[in-house]
């Protein structure tokens, strides 16, 4: 650990000189005042280096080595080639696209509902509380409940029967399994996007809204020309968090509701990684992790941009 700290101070951390002012820097004199900042950040940095950064590097390394009898042997890109020919990987990749198609649905639903709540429809406080409630429930609980609700003989199908729609084995058919899980995910998390929207609404300049009303703007015009531009940062934020939530927050539901099935119909990258690891193919799983990392990186860079802007303007 001390080695880590030592090497840290040797690394030229200021890429751009002048960005971090270092007043009163005394060489080789350790006082309570001069060591305190480093001691305060040290536990956090040490934990993140050992349990986040190091595993990340280790994982990228793993992905170029073999499994089982080839354990630890460098095999180049073989794992990636194996993945490219793997049916479950194909399914997971295809399903990522399905997932991305569901993101705008959640953002739209949450945005509309947040607008109504912001306009104080009767009972808005109650709705806000109720909509957010599923967010605190574990995916395991939600999955358990919806296993019963979506069963072939469950209440949803009874409703279908009552209004004359066909009975669907929602989780048992390959074309409906993933959309059903995504639907449940949206049910469980739109409340989160909704409160984020509401937090954004609270920052909209009331004078702009009043001005729009005096100018005789209709409600859709007000939303389109005033609210949406004012909320651009919030909307970005909701898009990024919803996307990341869908790509990395579905494990619990998949685990309880479909186990990736039927066949590989509801596989997502995170489930494939977990499955491959369980099949004693950690190196292959690592290759799949690197692919997921690249995907997340694109979204994450966007996230960093949004978050840093938020802290800077505090």
């Amino acid at each position: 650990m001390t080695a880590l700290l030592g090497s840290r101070s040797d690394v030229p951390t200021d890429v751009r000189p002048g960005t971090t002012p270092v007043p009163r820097r005394r060489r080789r004199r350790f006082t309570v005042e001069s060591t305190a900042p480093l001691l305060l950040v040290f536990p956090a940095i040490a934990i993140l280096l050992v349990f986040r950064v190091y595993p990340l590097i280790l994982g990228v390394n793993f992905s170029f080595t073999g499994d089982q009898e080839l354990n630890g042997v460098f095999i180049g890109l073989d794992n990636y080639v194996t993945l490219m020919n793997d049916v479950r990987f194909h399914a997971a990749a295809r399903n990522v696209i399905v997932v991305l198609l569901f993101v705008p649905i959640e953002v739209f639903v949450a945005g509309i509902l947040a607008t109504f709540i912001f306009l104080k429809v009767p009972g808005h406080r109650f709705y806000r509380s109720v909509y957010f409630l599923p967010v605190v429930l574990s995916p395991i609980i939600i999955g358990a409940i919806f296993n019963i609700v979506l069963a072939a003989n469950g209440p949803l199908n009874e409703l279908n029967r009552a209004v004359g729609l066909p009975i669907v084995d929602w989780l048992g058919q390959s074309n409906s399994a993933l959309p059903s899980v995504l639907g449940v995910h949206i049910w469980a998390t739109f409340g989160m996007a909704l409160v984020i929207f509401l937090a954004g609404f609270s920052t909209v300049d009331q004078e702009l809204l009043d001005a729009a009303r005096i100018d005789g703007a209709t409600l859709p015009q007000t939303i389109w020309y005033v609210v949406i531009p004012e909320l651009s940062q919030t909307i970005q934020f909701v898009f990024v968090t919803t996307t990341i939530g869908m790509l990395t927050g579905l494990f619990g539901l998949l685990y309880t509701m479909t186990a990736g099935g039927p066949g590989a119909a509801s596989y997502l990258p995170e489930f494939l990684i977990w499955k491959l690891n369980g099949e004693a193919k950690p190196a292959l799983a690592s290759a799949a992790s690197v692919v997921l990392l690249l995907l997340i990186l694109v979204i994450g860079l966007l996230q960093i941009r949004v978050l840093r802007r938020a802290t800077k303007e505090v």
Binding site: A44, I47, N153, W187, L219, S289
Partner: protein
């Protein structure tokens, strides 16, 4: 932006239906959990006529739920306390103190926030087993701490940054060193943020399944969520008892939600707006 009264009531109708759709699955579950097994087989959908609390007793006693509860409470409480302590220390340093590498440290934290656990789960488990921490409480705790620390640091940094420098400087003039400022000024002033992050992280730890499945492989050390997911196999043909077990897990969450709704909301909306 004031719509007419009628329009508002019209909008309220679909919203009420949606609210019903949000709580209906839970009420449906409660309804079934209160049925006897016999009633459930005879009439699945109808309103329950019995109050079979025996289901809850069975789920609690037969499925080892008490043990899982204790495991989850222990791991959650220790993890959250560690997260709050480490994150507020780092947040204070990053927001109020100037030191070499503070920029790099903040970037590391943001980068760590971007890396989802799924991406590093295989090498992370290997790292834990190198430290002989698989199947141990410290192993699961360090897994949670490292997972939820980055966001908490980010939140605390942003929160502390809003506390004016004059306040800390006044405390320095009064003879406090840096640790005194941290303990006597920042921690008390940061209480709302700490409460918010405490509740949110407690929910994350309590509700986690993936990390817990990977780290705790022996049945006696299972956390509550892993235990509940195993209930289904335990009661394949006794849905009321199975759902009673599920509700035993839901209950504390709903209580926490009703008490701390505001703090939870404050936590999840961090970073969404400019202020």
């Amino acid at each position: 932006m004031r719509s007419t009264g009628v329009a508002r009531w019209l909008i309220a109708v679909p919203m009420a239906i949606l609210a019903l759709a949000t709580i209906y699955p839970m009420l449906y579950t409660l309804n079934i959990a209160l049925k006897t097994r016999y009633d459930y087989v005879i009439d699945r959908g109808g309103l329950t006529t019995t109050f079979a609390f025996q289901n809850f007793v069975d789920a609690w006693t037969q499925a080892n739920m008490g043990r899982y509860y204790l495991n989850s409470i222990l791991v959650t409480v220790v993890s959250v306390l560690l997260i709050l302590l480490i994150a507020s220390m780092a947040g204070f340093a990053l927001s109020h103190l100037t030191f070499r590498g503070s920029r790099a440290a903040f970037l590391l934290i943001l980068a760590a926030m971007m890396i989802p656990f799924q991406v590093i789960m295989v090498p992370f488990i290997k790292t834990l087993s190198d430290f002989s921490m698989i199947n141990t409480y410290p192993g699961l705790i360090i897994a949670y701490v490292s997972q939820f620390l980055p966001f908490t640091i980010y939140f605390m940094t942003a929160y502390f940054a809003r506390i004016p420098k004059e306040i800390t400087e006044a405390a320095r003039v009064d003879g406090n060193n840096i640790y005194g400022v941290f303990g006597r000024i920042m921690l008390p002033l940061g209480r709302p943020a700490l409460l918010s992050m405490g509740i949110l992280n407690a929910l994350f730890c309590w509700n986690d399944i993936l990390i817990s499945l990977l780290v705790m492989q022996s049945p006696s050390q299972r956390t509550l969520m892993v235990g509940v997911s195993a209930l289904r196999g335990q009661y394949p043909d006794n849905v009321p008892t199975y759902l009673s077990g599920v509700l035993l897990v839901v209950l504390p969450l709903i209580v926490v939600y009703l008490i701390f709704q505001r703090q939870i909301t404050a936590g999840v909306t961090a970073g969404a707006t400019k202020g």
